[in-house]
């Protein structure tokens, strides 16, 4: 065997304990990366299976060709097709079955009165397809719906809502529909449902009545199958018979389209988000690995010098160190792969615990998900060890005779170069970031500045470490006497090591801080928005997330307005249209009444005069598009294009969006109507509690949406932010854990290195307790350096992110002192915890061996 390799292997084996921290860092990083990729594979495969199952018996789908993208409707919004078309297609030779398929949003209310689902996965309602092959659902018990008000629900929904055959409950479409459960269905091959989504199957007549705009004769699509033709032949056969604006595609194409849609809408973003955090964890691991090898090489200077003196080439010494790193890389990456499967399960459990169910039955592990993390783990480890290995190779043979090398990273020429370069990077980065974030936000400029500022901080680390530790540790001598003073000086004695250790934590804390600040700012912005523009007293909403939920019934506003306690109640619905070629969301409302509950600021023109061909546009949007009062714009709905006139301009950026349209104008083009919110103003003198109770009573009859006062409304609007933040915290925990491992590892190595010094201290009277406290406080100091640096950097970058992402200039920036204090405290406590093991090892030192002369 090659000598370098042999020495590397031997020394890896001999220094197992020193390398444990490195192995763990690589392992965790690789496990996270693997877990992310496996979860992505699994989700993709499961979605694919779900859509394939949904279209298993369908040969072709006939539907409107034109589609408008909508945020909360999978696949976008299309105009309905006539059900009569199904009757015509059924007569085409080769068509074995043709059935209208109505699909819309319908959220079931469970036995306890709470809505089922709604947090992410769709809550669907539709007609129960009578053709057993076309219908992806199978009856598990009971029978198909026949009479009005009868429904089949999927087994998952039945279990979640504790509903049984014969139960009567409410379906929010969002108009409340009373249904009686007559059957329980399974999906595909005996699944509880189409993933975690819910489905309510009604009779065709019921489905048309509740889920289509006209109430009869319309369907979302028509599903065909043929016993004799291939899918493509079937499509080719029916295509010439379709009216204009209607298309046919094969079942397989429909499946592929759905998979692509969910990928683009959800999976890509989801896995990218996870990959970003895996990347952060690996970045932090890089610092830890680099640091460990740097220390190991420093401690082995004499050994390497001896090798050089005995005639080893630089390359052989370098090779030996790299071989050792390679052992770590391979062992840790392989273990990380195994751990990754566990991480995938853990992540999926994490999201389930937070209320987002993911379809993750059966882990799918693609080759890339094994090969890539393995490669990344090995490359990251070898890359991180490269510099220390080069340094090992440069060891002068004479170093064997010298006492020890001096850390010159903070002083001397290297120190000056560092100081100049670091300051330049930091200052330049700061200027770029500020310029990018403020002067007409530029993401590229801000990001470049942020990266440069981060690099500057890292470069400056060793120069600033000694001073920072000195300042941060100032109270220590008074608190802990000479052991405290020693802790402070120990943390400062090897600034580049302290800096490298702290930098890992700094990166982690900076990202935590960035998200904390960003989330607080979003929350503040939402609060501001509600404060500024919500002029009502109560808000009625149906909480939902992603594609779930069904909104609030548009009839609710009218009913609430009848209450004697209520001065004004206006519903705000959401519509989509392409305005002058740009896909936009519209607020469908009663613009004349709106100022009673929503503060629209100065209004030019007349909100009351919009009629069926007028639009109200926010002043900023109008300015951006170059419109004035009286401008005419083209508005493309799913069923055609019309010209509208801009009749009013108002102050945007509030509860109402950029476009307001009357219900009358929207009605002909709607697909399934729902309000996102009903804003209510009470009559003067009506106590809030009384008004709220009265409105809640009415709302109960409309499927129990929640009634909130201003404070609650603002808080719930920000609720999603907090949920996202807890996900981010959970994902960042790993990076922070790796950073803490780094601190523990560096300290353990330092303890090993200072064996004789510690022995001397013990001999001249330092108690075990004092020694432990000394090592622990050193750990806390290093952690404090990293945490404080991270807080500063994170707060600054958070500010930049808030400003850069706020092109309208209406957002607020908030530094939440309480949360940041918790981050600081957590950093310090974590530092103390990281110091436990090294402190314990130091305290167990045998005094005699420590002071024994060699």
């Amino acid at each position: 065997m090659n000598t370098a390799l042999r020495i590397g292997l031997r020394s890896a084996r001999a220094h197992r304990r020193r390398l444990v921290g490195t192995v763990l860092a690589v392992l965790l990083g690789v496990a996270f990366l693997t877990g992310t990729m496996v979860l992505g594979d699994t989700l993709r495969a499961n979605f694919d299976t779900l859509f394939a199952d949904a279209n298993a018996g369908t040969g072709a789908v006939v539907r409107s060709a034109d589609v408008l993208p909508a945020q909360n409707v999978p696949g976008g919004v299309r105009a309905p097709v006539d059900t009569a078309l199904a009757d015509r297609l059924r007569t085409v030779p080769g068509v074995s079955a043709a059935e209208p398929s109505v699909q819309g949003a319908g959220q079931l209310v469970g036995r306890n009165g709470e809505p089922i689902g709604g947090k992410g996965p769709p809550t669907l309602a539709g007609n129960w397809l009578t053709d057993g092959t076309l219908n992806p659902y199978r009856l598990a018990e009971g029978r198909a719906p026949a009479a009005p008000g009868e429904a089949v629900i999927n087994r998952g929904a039945a279990e979640a809502g504790d509903l049984r055959i014969g139960d009567t409950t409410m379906l929010r479409t969002p108009d409340p529909v009373r249904i009686t459960v007559v059957g329980i269905a399974t999906f595909g091959a005996d699944a509880d449902g189409m993933g975690p989504s819910t489905f309510t199957g009604l009779s065709l007549a019921d489905a048309e009545r509740h889920l289509t705009p006209k109430g009869e004769g319309q369907a979302t699509a028509i599903r065909l199958r043929s016993d004799t033709l291939t899918q493509q032949q079937l499509v080719d056969r029916v295509k010439p018979l379709l009216p204009s604006g209607v298309e046919a595609l094969t079942g397989q194409a429909a499946t592929a389209e759905s998979t692509a849609d969910v990928s683009g809408r959800f999976l890509t973003m989801f896995t990218t988000l996870l990959l970003v955090f895996a990347g952060i964890a690996l970045l932090v691991a890089t610092f830890t690995i680099h640091n460990t090898f740097a220390i190991v090489v420093a401690q082995r200077t004499r050994e390497n010098a001896l090798l050089r003196a005995l005639g080893a080439h630089r390359r052989q010494v370098l090779g030996a160190t790299l071989a050792e790193a390679a052992v770590v890389a391979v062992v840790a990456s392989a273990a990380g792969l195994a751990g990754g499967i566990g991480v995938a399960a853990g992540l999926s459990a994490l999201f389930a615990a937070l209320g987002f169910s993911l379809p993750t039955g059966g882990m799918v592990v693609a080759t890339a998900s094994v090969a890539l993390p393995l490669a990344v783990g090995i490359l990251v480890t070898l890359g991180s060890a490269l510099l220390p290995a080069v340094r090992a190779g440069r060891t002068a043979p004479l170093a064997a005779l010298r006492e020890s090398t001096v850390d010159d990273a903070a002083t001397g020429r290297t120190g000056r170069v560092r100081a100049v370069l670091g300051t330049a990077l930091l200052a330049g980065g700061t200027v770029l970031t500020v310029r990018g974030a403020t002067g007409g936000p530029s993401a590229v400029l801000t990001a470049t500045g942020a990266v440069s500022a981060l690099a500057g901080t890292v470069v400056l680390g060793p120069v600033s470490a000694a001073l920072a530790v000195h300042v941060l540790g100032a109270p220590l001598p008074r608190l802990r006497g000479v052991s405290g003073a020693l802790a402070r000086r120990n943390a400062a004695r090897n600034p580049s090591r302290t800096a490298a250790t702290a930098t890992a934590l700094m990166v982690g804390v900076a990202v935590v801080t960035l998200f904390t600040v960003f989330a607080a700012s979003i929350r503040a912005t939402l609060n501001d928005t509600v404060d500024r523009s919500f002029a009502g007293d109560l808000a009625v909403t149906a909480p939902a997330f992603g594609a779930g939920g069904s909104g609030v019934s548009p009839k609710l506003a009218e009913a609430v307005r009848q209450l004697p306690q209520v001065e004004q109640a206006v519903g705000l619905g959401r519509g989509v249209a392409r305005i002058d070629g740009h896909g936009r969301e519209l607020d469908i409302t009663d613009p004349a009444r709106l100022p009673g509950v929503v503060d629209l600021g100065r209004v030019d023109g007349s909100l009351a005069a919009l009629g069926t061909d007028g639009l109200a546009v926010s002043r900023s949007e109008a300015a951006a598009r170059g419109w004035q009062l009286g401008s005419t714009v083209s508005v493309a709905f799913t069923d055609g294009t019309e010209r509208f006139t801009v009749r009013a301009l108002y102050e945007g950026g509030g509860v109402a969006g950029d476009y307001l349209m009357t219900r009358q104008a929207w009605a002909p083009h709607r697909v399934q109507d729902s309000d996102t919110m009903v804003a209510v103003a009470l009559r003067p003198g009506v106590p809030l509690a009384d008004g709220k109770a009265a409105v809640q009573k009415v709302a109960d009859a409309y499927g129990n949406p929640q009634v909130q006062d201003r404070g609650e409304y603002a808080a719930s609007a920000a609720g999603g932010v907090d949920t996202m933040l807890s996900v981010v915290y959970a994902l960042l925990a790993l990076a922070v854990l790796i950073a803490l491992l780094g601190i523990a590892n560096t300290l353990t190595l330092a303890v090993h290195e200072r064996t004789r010094e510690l022995g001397l201290l013990r001999a001249v009277g330092q108690t075990r307790g004092q020694l432990r406290s000394m090592v622990r406080w050193e750990s806390v100091l290093v952690a404090a350096f990293g945490t404080v640096g991270g807080l500063g950097l994170g707060a600054f970058l958070g500010w930049a992110l808030v400003r850069a992402s706020d092109s309208a200039g209406t957002g607020s920036f908030a530094l939440p002192p309480g949360r940041l204090a918790v981050v600081l405290l957590a950093g310090l406590v974590a530092g103390a915890v990281a110091g436990l093991r090294p402190a314990g090892r130091a305290a167990r030192l045998d005094v005699l061996r420590a002071i024994a002369t060699d």
Binding site: R756, T767, L848
Partner: protein, 287 residues
């Protein structure tokens, strides 16, 4: 003070120390009894592996005996737990080691007061100043150990050992890493401590010249006390060592002679130390 008079500063009685088990079992101390009285400078000599370091470590409470007892003043060390033992070390014992005597992150003054600081005791400023004066490092108080020569470092270590007015100072090869001139300075300091402060000093050494500074030399071989010599001189000690080496045939015949030669010249350069008129044989009598 009464305690000091009733008990020797340090003592071991019937001390046995066994290392390892089975085939690797080594008896490092074999029923050794010895007292180290106040105001006396005792040197412990013996070939490598004779148990001299073990004896010092056990007497100083750095190591525990397998059998027998060790006392510092009237305190039996075997009865103390680690915490009490540590406190006893910093309050009643001073240490000077061969190398790595100082904490590199502390200044000279901080190193001197380290045991007191660890105990949370306020150092007696006048006493520390006097010590600094004696060891001759008044202008180096705020330097770090790395900025001092080896001899200066050892002098700081001596000052540290004396700073807490301990009952006994243990020195383990204190001149082992020093040139003869620096070594002589350190030994002179220890001698002075015995003579002017009535300090008990116990020194392990294999250097006959160093042993020449002591009032009494104890010779150990194979874990047993085999001989002792009062008012030694370097030459007499060297002769005695040779006598040991010859029958045992284990010692280091080469080198000792030249060490002695070097030591002799060093001795000539040693300034005569002033001392009080206390009882007992003194170095001056032997000169």
């Amino acid at each position: 003070m009464t305690v000091v008079q009733l008990h020797p500063a340090a003592a071991v009685t019937d001390a046995v120390k066994v290392y390892g088990i089975g085939a690797t079992r080594v008896r490092a101390l074999d029923h050794v009894t010895v007292e180290f009285p106040a105001g006396r400078f005792t040197a412990i000599m013996g070939p490598s592996g004779s148990g001299k370091s073990t004896l010092m470590h056990c007497a100083a409470g750095l190591d525990t005996l397998s059998a027998g007892s060790a006392h510092i003043g009237g305190t039996e060390l075997g009865t103390l737990n680690d915490r009490r033992l540590t406190e006893l070390r910093r309050e009643r014992i001073g240490f000077v080691f061969q190398s790595f005597n100082l904490v590199p992150t502390l200044t000279v003054r901080e190193n001197i007061t380290l045991p007191l600081d660890l105990a949370g005791r306020a150092p007696d400023a006048a006493w520390v100043d006097a010590l600094v004066e004696v060891v001759g490092l008044g202008d180096r108080l705020h330097h770090r150990p790395a900025e001092l020569s080896g001899g200066q470092q050892q002098r700081v270590a001596v000052a540290r050992a004396l700073a807490g007015r301990p009952q006994v100072v243990f020195a383990d090869e204190p001149t082992g890493n020093l040139d003869s001139r620096s070594g002589a300075e350190v030994l002179g300091l220890l001698r002075q401590a015995v003579d002017t402060m009535d300090q008990a000093v116990v020194m392990v050494t294999h250097d006959p010249t160093a042993a020449g500074y002591a009032d009494r030399v104890l010779f150990l071989a194979d874990g047993r006390l085999v001989d002792s010599m009062d008012t030694p001189t370097a030459d007499r000690v060297l002769d005695r060592m040779k006598a040991f080496d010859a029958p045992a045939a284990t010692g280091r015949p080469a080198g000792t002679g030249s060490t002695a030669a070097r030591a002799a010249t060093a001795r000539a350069a040693t300034p005569d130390t002033a001392r009080s008129a206390a009882a007992g044989p003194r170095e001056s009598d032997r000169r």
